[in-house]
């Protein structure tokens, strides 16, 4: 390892521009003739549009167009799609309701856009949007998924009778039921996974440019996957053919999943720019719009039970989940509560029989889709709450019950599709218990008691599946896309290197870690390597960044392309040095013949490739190689988190006294960046456990629609995290990388809740464990 190679704590190359205010975000993009869009949003959760009176708005200063959904669909703009087909257990396809980027007949959540105003300035657009009069016929709304399935509930879409999108199952129900028949003990739990608002620091934004001379569009947008955005905008929404549409995702200030999807606003800005005959249209969400329109996360209600034999071995696990998908099916929404959730229900354990039934439901709320972890936090919360509940019921130590059931041998085929390839669950449990001074807890609890406080300890042994994903496998499960990644390595004549990647960095530090991989390979300074991403005119195609895939899949594509570059460089060097190709070694920026003093500088070999004065017979000039990498399996990061809390019984306030994370992410490129990912993930997971909650009233108004009512975790809510890494290499990719982006958010909520239920002495506690909820729980005992 060099100082900037794999394993180095290299400082982030991109931070200079971020911390000096020189980042270039979508809203920073300005062009001549740029107009502004303001959306006319429904104040009702459910209503029929009887008419739209645009006359007053059209007469206002600066207004060039007021457009509605009928005009949009009339121009042939297609409905918004869900890109993953899930079938119900009876074999029928999911019941997908139509979603137009501007509502045509009905609005179905507060914030649903009924019209758009295009004006010369932002202020004029905003003012005119308020002057558009929509004649709403208000209808009854339903916001709760369980209520939405009941007889007589308000109906959202004619395509989805009873608001049911699909009734899906996985696993062998008969075998699982049989396991319960023979069980020595059965442990049951009813839990709710609270609904969350993603809240990236940068709100969503789009700048759509239209060049009428070329009939060409350029879209700057806050996207985690600009290539997928171009594909979908072109192939499904018919905005423009792919060769007439360039999508650029410049610096993006956080995504957490919410910026995977192609939202109505991007579609409308592109369509409206051409229709209104303006050079460009900008729209940037204000924070209220972000709360009201960014896809939310989680929102599951689950009943589950687990069967144990007399030796406390798990023999069966049965799960029934109802998942709220909101008013429309967002891009990956169908896959989150199925293939990203139920396939992880085996946790770190040998469970011979699992059956899970999932019903997904339409409600009059913002669409719900993948949010950091996406299905895997819901699975981990269920499994790990249940394991701790079982330990209490069976009167064994929670660590011992887990250890008794750990998967010890790999590969391990679970009964729910996933085949775990590698791991060492005892190692991370041991490390976390040691770091948490698990043995010393009783003394600390006694000390808290002396101070009138309740102390509790809780653990969570999580596993997740990321590095998504083998294309053929996800295709067989209904995905509309493949989940490979591409890379291109362009070596310049003087030996500096550009890496073009289909991954997209929106906070992950790719410009640093990807450069470290190249630096490690050729012994070049990382500053000689430039990472190019986020522009469909530069990078040919890519699948973007989500599902902790940029390391395991994106870097693997780079490694494959580097292999090709290295092979060609060695051929050239062997020719120039009159040596055998097998004797050539590239090291510390030099190309050497092993065992001799013959060598060339890396730059000399690169220059030779481009002067082409003396290349091997038949070799093409140049040094540029590309690769597509399609993984053979998911990767399986795993670990153990232990949380210790102190609860003030007078107020219900829970204070985290200690949080220990022991993770196995496989090979780590930059430990500092990985630790940052863990810290951020833990903050989000602790946010879900203690603070964050998207709450609607019965009429469908979002009550937690600003930071006045939606509690985000702040630095002083969090302890100093104790983080460690325990490497077992992933056998599926060249560097052995597993992925670290989501683990913190996946593993931490059950650790926190298990700690609080330990402190208060019972399990009747709703998440988030707000002071009010904990106080109620204490007083319900």
């Amino acid at each position: 390892m060099g100082i900037e190679g794999i394993g180095a704590r290299a400082l982030r190359k991109e931070d200079k521009r971020f911390i000096t205010g020189k980042g270039h975000y979508t809203d920073d993009h300005k062009v001549a003739g740029m107009h502004h869009a303001a959306f006319v949003r429904s104040p009702h959760a459910h209503a029929k549009i009887n008419g739209i009176d645009k006359s007053a708005a059209e007469d206002m200063s600066g207004v060039v167009a007021v457009l509605d959904g009928k005009q949009l669909t009339g121009d042939g703009i297609g409905n918004i799609i869900c890109g993953w087909m899930v079938h119900s257990k009876d074999g029928s396809p999911m019941n997908m309701g139509a979603w137009s980027a501007l509502a045509t007949e009905y609005v179905r959540y507060v914030g649903d856009a009924a019209a758009v105003v295009i004006a010369e300035s932002y202020e004029e657009a905003k003012a005119a949007a308020e002057a558009v009069v929509v004649d709403y016929e208000v209808l009854d709304a339903v916001v709760d998924a369980v209520e939405a399935l009941k007889e007589g509930a308000p109906q959202l879409h004619p395509e989805a009778a009873g608001n049911l999108i699909y009734d899906w199952e996985i696993g062998d129900e008969a075998a699982t039921d049989a396991a319960f028949d023979g069980a020595a003990n059965v442990v049951e739990i009813d839990i709710t996974n609270n609904r969350l608002v993603p809240n990236p620091m940068e709100p969503r934004s789009a700048v759509a440019e239209y060049d009428d001379a070329e009939d060409h569009f350029t879209l700057h947008t806050t996207s985690q996957n600009p290539h997928v955005a171009r594909l979908v905008l072109s192939a499904f929404y018919q905005v423009a053919p792919e060769n007439k549409l360039r999508v650029i995702a410049p610096d993006v200030g956080g995504g957490f999943g919410a910026k995977i999807y192609i939202y109505p606003e991007e579609i409308v800005c592109l369509w409206a720019a051409k229709r209104a005959g303006v050079a460009a249209i900008k729209w940037t969400a204000d924070r209220s719009e972000a709360f009201m329109t960014d896809a939310h996360g989680r929102d599951h209600v689950t009943k589950a039970k687990m069967a144990f034999d007399a030796d406390n071995k798990i023999t069966g696990f049965k799960v029934e989940t109802i998942a709220n998908l909101g008013a429309y099916m967002s891009l990956f929404s169908s896959s989150v509560p199925t293939y990203l959730y139920a396939t992880l229900l085996s946790g770190q354990y040998n469970i011979p029989n699992i059956h899970c039934n999932v019903k997904t439901v339409y409600t009059n709320t913002v669409p719900v889709d993948a949010y950091r972890g996406a299905g895997r936090p819901e699975a981990t919360y269920l499994v790990e709450r249940l394991m701790t509940t079982a330990a209490r019921q069976l009167d064994v130590d929670p660590a011992e019950l887990r250890r008794t059931n750990f998967v010890q041998e790999f590969p391990h085929q679970t009964p729910v599709i996933m085949a775990y390839d590698a791991g060492d669950f005892d190692a991370t449990l041991d490390a976390a218990m040691e770091a948490a001074d698990y043995k010393g807890f009783a003394a600390r609890k006694a000390e808290s008691e002396n101070n009138g406080k309740l102390r509790g300890i809780g653990m969570s042994c999580y596993i997740e599946a990321c590095g998504i994903a083998p294309s053929a496998a996800v295709g067989s499960l209904g995905a509309g896309v493949g989940l490979w990644e591409s890379a291109e390595v362009r070596v310049n004549p003087v030996g500096t290197i550009e890496i073009l990647t289909g991954s997209h960095s929106h906070g992950q530090g790719h410009e640093t870690t990807f450069a470290q991989v190249v630096s490690d390979r050729f012994g070049l300074p990382a500053e000689n390597v430039q990472i190019v991403h986020g522009d469909t005119d530069k990078v040919q195609f890519g699948m973007g960044t989500y599902g902790s895939r940029s390391g395991a899949v994106g870097i693997s594509a780079i490694v494959k392309a580097l292999d090709k570059v290295e092979a060609k460089a060695k051929k050239i060097a062997a020719h120039l040095l009159e040596a055998s190709e097998g004797d050539i070694e590239i090291k510390d920026g030099e190309v050497l013949v092993k065992g001799t003093d013959k060598k060339l500088g890396w730059h000399e070999v690169c220059l030779g490739a481009y002067t082409a004065h003396n290349l091997p017979e038949g070799m093409e000039p140049g040094l540029k190689e590309g690769a597509f990498y399609d993984p053979t399996n998911f990767t399986f990061p795993a670990g153990c988190y232990i949380c210790e809390v102190e609860v003030d019984p007078d107020t219900g306030v829970s204070t985290i006294q200690q949080f220990v994370a022991a993770d196995d992410f496989g090979k780590i490129i930059n430990p500092m960046i990985v630790e940052g990912q863990v810290h951020g993930g833990l903050a989000q997971g602790i946010g879900q456990a203690l603070m964050e909650h998207a709450v609607y009233d019965d009429a469908g108004q979002l009550l937690s629609a600003s930071y006045m009512d939606y509690q985000m975790p702040r630095a002083d809510d969090l302890p100093d995290f104790v983080v460690s890494h325990h490497e077992t290499l992933c056998p599926g990719n060249p560097l052995g990388i597993k992925g670290c982006g989501e683990a913190g958010a996946i593993g931490s909520p059950p650790a926190v809740i298990n700690a609080i239920t330990d402190a208060i002495g019972h399990n009747n506690l709703a998440m988030p464990a707000s002071p009010h909820n904990v106080w109620k729980a204490i007083h319900s005992a």
């Binding site: 937690s704 930071y707 009010h772």
Partner: protein
């Protein structure tokens, strides 16, 4: 934000002459400006009071305290004479919002707005303060008339508050977990054995005194004296952060903590 015009007043008389029918006085703007940015308020004129010298500063004369309406929370918090005469109020000011809020927000703006979750109103009640305006003096008991409502007439300007420092005082609050405004803020002040208790954040009609607690504490200034007091939840706010029962409970817990801290 809608279009508005801005006038920087150089005197109280100048301000009063410029306010018009649709204008708003601008103090620190900690509530008004966000409300305007959200297009929920649209005054045609903003008359900025914060540059009027007569409205600024803390003066302490023995136990007599006077604080100009445009004195910022940071200035109240940092005033050495006030820290000596009435440390509880100085400490309260240091716990409002965050540093940015404390360097912009003012005591006059806070009490004139009468956000039920603001900290100062509880203190004004417990300190038996007098609210001075450009036309009269109003006792705190008469000033806070309901949530976001005060005894101020249209166009009337708060110029200062004054009070006689208590023998002892303390303020304890339970913060709303999201906004960190007070969900239950209790100021207890001992005026020679006559104890006054002001409560912010919890009551549905805004800042209020709690006479049961005052009776229990007058003559027995100890946390235990509150054990037998039942705080009526019927008068309390209820929202997604806390039921009225929870708020009633918190008021008692915060009162006990305040008494214990005195």
């Amino acid at each position: 934000m809608y279009e508005t015009s801005y006038h920087r007043a150089d005197s109280v008389a100048d301000a009063a002459s410029k306010i018009g029918d649709e204008g708003k006085y601008l103090a620190g703007g900690m509530t008004l400006l966000p409300t305007m940015k959200q297009r929920l308020a649209a005054p045609d004129t903003l008359v900025d009071l914060t540059h009027i010298g007569d409205l600024k500063g803390v003066s302490v004369n023995g136990k007599e305290v006077r604080i100009g309406a445009m004195t910022t929370h940071a200035e109240v918090n940092g005033d050495a004479a006030l820290q000596s005469a009435c440390p509880s109020l100085a400490k309260l000011a240091g716990g409002i919002g965050d540093p940015a809020v404390r360097h912009r927000g003012t005591i006059g703006g806070s009490i004139a707005n009468h956000d039920p979750a603001a900290d100062y109103p509880a203190a004004m009640l417990a300190l038996n303060a007098t609210i001075h305006t450009d036309s009269r003096e109003i006792s705190a008991d008469d000033f806070f008339s309901g949530m976001f409502e005060t005894a101020l007439n249209e166009g009337e300007i708060v110029t200062a508050i004054s009070f006689t420092a208590p023998d002892k005082g303390a303020y304890e609050k339970f913060r709303n977990p999201a906004s960190r405004y007070a969900m239950a803020g209790v100021f207890v002040a001992d005026h020679g054995g006559d104890v006054r208790v002001g409560v912010s954040g919890a009551y549905s009609n805004g800042a209020s005194r709690n006479s049961e607690m005052e009776t229990a504490l007058s003559g027995n200034l100890s946390a235990d004296a509150l054990d037998g007091v039942a705080v009526d939840a019927g008068d309390m706010l209820s929202d997604i952060h806390g039921s009225s029962d929870y708020r009633a409970h918190l008021v008692k817990v915060m009162a006990k903590r305040a008494v214990a801290a005195m």
